[in-house]
C-alpha cells in the first residue's frame, strides 16, 4: 500500500499500461518535456522518449482527430490524448462527437476507437469564466462515448487502467484542485470496471450523490450531519456514462431521499439525468422530491467571494439534506 496523490496514481496507470502494451502512447500540450502542465505525466518522457510521449502544437481539434485516426487504423495503436483542461477540448468536440463517438456505429461495427481523452474538468480557483467549465454533461449526452470521473487516487488509477484497455472512446475527467489529494493505493495490479459506482460512506437517511470534487464536500456535509443524528450515504457513480443505475436505485430504496450535488451548471446536467432516473425507476420509494445542487447558472466570475458564492458548498448540501428530511 502507498499514499499517493491523484496525479501520481494517474501517472502510474499511464506508466503501467504503456509498459504493458507498446501500442499505448500519450500526446498533448506540454506532456513530454514540460512533464505536464499539472505534472501528471512527470517522468514519462524521460522513460519512454519522443516516440511515445509527444508534445503537440496547441491545436486541440487537430491532435484529437489524429488520435482518433490512429486508433481507428485497427493496428494496435491506443492513444491517450491529454486535454490541458476540458475547457479547451471544446475546440475538439467536432472530432470527438462526429468521429470518435460515431465511427463504430456508422460503419456497422467495423471500426473500434480505443482512445482515452483525459484532463482536468470543472471550476478550479479564480480562473475566470473560460477556464472553469464543467462539461461532463455535454460529453455524457453523446451515445458512443464513455465518461468517467474519479474522486480518489485509488479510483483514478483503477479507472484509468480500465479506460485505456477499453476499445471505446473514453472521456476521463479529472480536476486541477484534486491532483494533490492523497489516498491509499494498493501495490500490484487492479482495475475498476467501467460503469461501477461506489458507496463512499454508508448511511440510512439520505443518499447524497456526488462525483470528483463534490465527493469531499458531500463527505464533509455527512460528517456534520452525523453530529445531528442524520445518517447520510454518499454515493459516487465514478462513471457518468454509463450510469450505475443498479447502485443508485438500491441506495434510494434504502434511504428514500436523494440529494445530488455537482459543480456544473444546472440545465441538463448529469444530475438532472440522475434525478429523472431516480423518479422513473424508484418513484414509490421516494419520501421527498429529489434535491439538486449546482453551480450558479452563470459564467464563472473571477472575484473570490463571487466564485465561492457560485459554487456548491457543505452548507448548501446540509440545507438540502434537511429539506428532503422536512427538518
Amino acid at each position: 500500500m502507498a499514499q499517493l496523490q491523484i496525479r501520481e496514481a494517474i501517472n502510474q496507470a499511464i506508466d503501467e499500461e504503456m509498459e504493458k502494451d507498446p501500442g499505448v502512447f500519450i500526446m498533448g500540450e506540454e506532456v513530454a518535456q514540460y512533464n505536464g502542465a499539472y505534472k501528471v505525466t512527470q517522468g514519462l518522457w524521460k522513460k519512454y522518449g519522443d516516440k511515445r510521449v509527444i508534445d503537440t502544437p496547441i491545436t486541440e481539434a487537430g491532435f484529437a482527430g489524429i488520435g482518433i485516426g490512429a486508433a481507428m487504423a485497427g493496428i494496435g495503436v491506443r492513444p491517450i490524448v491529454e486535454m490541458m483542461t476540458w475547457n479547451f477540448a471544446i475546440l475538439a468536440f467536432d472530432q470527438i462527437i462526429n468521429h470518435a463517438a460515431k465511427a463504430r456505429y456508422m460503419s456497422a461495427g467495423q471500426f473500434k476507437v480505443p482512445i482515452v481523452f483525459r484532463g482536468p474538468n470543472g471550476p478550479a480557483h479564480m480562473l475566470g469564466a473560460q477556464h472553469s467549465q464543467a462539461l461532463e454533461s455535454m460529453m455524457a449526452h453523446v451515445p458512443g462515448l464513455i465518461v468517467m470521473t474519479p474522486s480518489t487516487p485509488y479510483d483514478a488509477k483503477g479507472m484509468l487502467k480500465s479506460a485505456i484497455r477499453d476499445d471505446n472512446p473514453v472521456i476521463f475527467m479529472e480536476s486541477e484542485l484534486m491532483y494533490g489529494q492523497k489516498g491509499e493505493v494498493p501495490d500490484g495490479e487492479y482495475v475498476i470496471p467501467i460503469g461501477k459506482g461506489d458507496i463512499k460512506k454508508e448511511g440510512t437517511d439520505v443518499t447524497i450523490i456526488a462525483w470528483t470534487k463534490m465527493v469531499a464536500v458531500a463527505l464533509k456535509a455527512a460528517a456534520e450531519l452525523e453530529k445531528e443524528g442524520i445518517s447520510a450515504e454518499v454515493l459516487d457513480p465514478r462513471t457518468l456514462r454509463p450510469l450505475d443505475d443498479e447502485l443508485i436505485i438500491s441506495s434510494v430504496k434504502k434511504t428514500n431521499r436523494v440529494v445530488i450535488v455537482e459543480d456544473s451548471w444546472p440545465f441538463a446536467s448529469v444530475g438532472t439525468e440522475i434525478a429523472y432516473r431516480v423518479q422513473a425507476l424508484a418513484f414509490d420509494y421516494l419520501d421527498a422530491p429529489v434535491e439538486k445542487i449546482n453551480s450558479a447558472d452563470i459564467p464563472m466570475p473571477y472575484a473570490e467571494n463571487l466564485e465561492h458564492e457560485a459554487l456548491p458548498s457543505v452548507e448548501k448540501v446540509i440545507t438540502a439534506v434537511k429539506k428532503v428530511l422536512y427538518r
Binding site: G65, A108, Q110, P143
Partner: protein, 340 residues
C-alpha cells in the same frame, strides 16, 4: 443514358504513350479505364434510383471526377489506407468495394457496405483500408493524418491518402492537420479535388489567393497542381507522392483540378453555373479522352469498349436488383455497435 463518342484515329500512333515511364501493364491500364466507366455508370444509375425514391437524404455524385479517384487509388497497395469526404461512391468503387454492396447501402439495406447504417456519405470497408466516408466538411483530414501516424508508429511503410473538396481547405482543422503532418513527417497524401464549387459557391468567392495548393507552402510541404481530368497525370503525380511518403515519410498536398457535371448533390439544381461552362468541361471528359488514347495505342478496340459497357451495364443492373431484393436492417439491430 449518356453515350461516349469514341474519337477515331485512322493510323495507330507510333510514338510512345504518355504512360511509358510508369510501368503500367495493359491489364492495369484497362482496369483503370474500366473503373472510371463503372463509376460513371453506377453514379448515373444512382441518380435515376434517387429520382424514383429508392435513395433518401443526401446523394453526392462523382460524375466528372472519376480520373481523380481512380488515378489516385490505382497506384496504392492493399495495406494502404484511404479517407474521403461524403462524395465517396467513386473512391469506394475504385478501391474494390462491390457495386452490389454500394447500391444496397444507398438503398439503406442490411446487405450494404455499412449494413444500411451509414448511407451514401458513410461507405466503409476497413478490411480494404477504405476508411470512409465523412460528412463534416474539412473534418476528416486529421483522421487520415492519425492513421498515417499509426502505421509509422508500428514501423510499416503504408501510406494514407486523404481526398477532400477545395472548399474544405478553408476549414481550421485542415490547417492544423497540414502543420502536424509536416512537423511530424507523416506518410499522408492530401488530394484536394478542386471542382471549382463549394456547394453553390464558386471558389473565387470563398478563397483568398489563386493557387490553392500554395496553402501548403506555409508548412513547407511538397505540393503541386495536377490535371484532375487526366487519369494518367493523376497516377503519375500520386506515384511520386506515394514514393515520398513510403521512402521519406513525408506528406504531399496535391490539388487535382477537376469538375463535377452534376450539382453538389441530388438536391442541387445547379443554378450557379452556366450550361456552357458544363459543356466546355465535358469536352475534356476524363473517360472519353482516355478511351481515345487507349484505342490509338492499340490497347483497346472500340468493340472491346462496347463489350465492357455491356458488362458494366449488367453489373449495375444486378446491383440495383440486389439492392431492391435485400431486406432493410432488422429493428433488433438498432442498438448494435454503439460500443465495442
Amino acid at each position: 443514358m449518356e453515350t461516349i463518342t469514341m474519337k477515331k484515329e485512322k493510323v495507330p500512333s507510333t510514338k510512345q504513350p504518355r504512360w511509358a515511364d510508369l510501368s503500367l501493364t495493359n491489364e492495369k491500364l484497362i482496369k483503370i479505364f474500366h473503373d472510371m466507366l463503372l463509376i460513371r455508370r453506377f453514379e448515373e444509375r444512382a441518380a435515376q434510383e434517387y429520382g424514383k425514391g429508392k435513395i433518401g437524404g443526401f446523394c453526392h455524385l462523382y460524375i466528372g471526377q472519376e480520373a481523380v479517384g481512380v488515378g489516385a487509388i490505382a497506384p496504392l497497395r492493399e495495406d494502404d489506407f484511404i479517407y474521403t469526404a461524403y462524395r465517396d461512391h467513386g473512391q469506394a468503387l475504385a478501391r474494390g468495394l462491390e457495386p452490389k454492396g454500394c447500391m444496397a447501402e444507398l438503398f439503406g439495406k442490411a446487405t450494404g457496405v455499412s449494413k444500411g447504417i451509414g448511407g451514401s456519405m458513410h461507405f466503409y470497408d476497413l478490411a480494404k483500408g477504405f476508411m470512409g466516408g465523412w460528412g463534416i466538411v474539412g473534418g476528416h483530414p486529421p483522421l487520415a493524418a492519425g492513421t498515417a501516424f499509426a502505421t509509422k508508429y508500428q514501423g510499416r511503410d503504408s501510406v494514407t491518402i486523404c481526398f477532400m473538396g477545395e472548399a474544405s481547405t478553408n476549414q481550421g482543422v485542415f490547417h492544423e492537420t497540414l502543420n502536424m503532418a509536416q512537423l511530424w513527417k507523416l506518410p499522408v497524401i492530401f488530394i484536394c479535388e478542386n471542382n471549382g464549387y463549394g456547394m453553390g459557391t464558386a471558389i473565387s468567392r470563398a478563397m483568398a489567393g489563386d493557387d490553392l495548393y500554395e496553402k501548403a507552402a506555409g508548412y513547407e510541404m511538397a505540393r503541386g497542381a495536377v490535371n484532375g481530368m487526366d487519369v494518367i497525370e493523376m497516377y503519375r503525380e500520386m506515384s511520386k507522392a506515394i514514393d515520398r511518403a513510403r521512402k521519406d515519410s513525408l506528406p504531399t498536398f496535391l490539388e487535382a483540378r477537376t469538375y463535377r457535371y452534376r450539382g453538389h448533390s441530388m438536391s442541387d439544381p445547379g443554378q450557379y453555373r452556366t450550361k456552357e461552362e458544363i459543356e466546355e468541361y465535358k469536352k475534356r471528359d476524363p473517360i472519353e479522352t482516355f478511351a481515345a488514347e487507349l484505342i490509338s495505342s492499340g490497347i483497346l478496340t472500340e468493340s472491346e469498349i462496347e463489350t465492357m459497357e455491356e458488362k458494366i451495364k449488367d453489373e449495375v443492373q444486378e446491383a440495383v436488383e440486389f439492392a431492391d431484393a435485400s431486406p432493410q436492417p432488422s429493428i433488433d439491430t438498432l442498438y448494435e455497435n454503439v460500443y465495442a
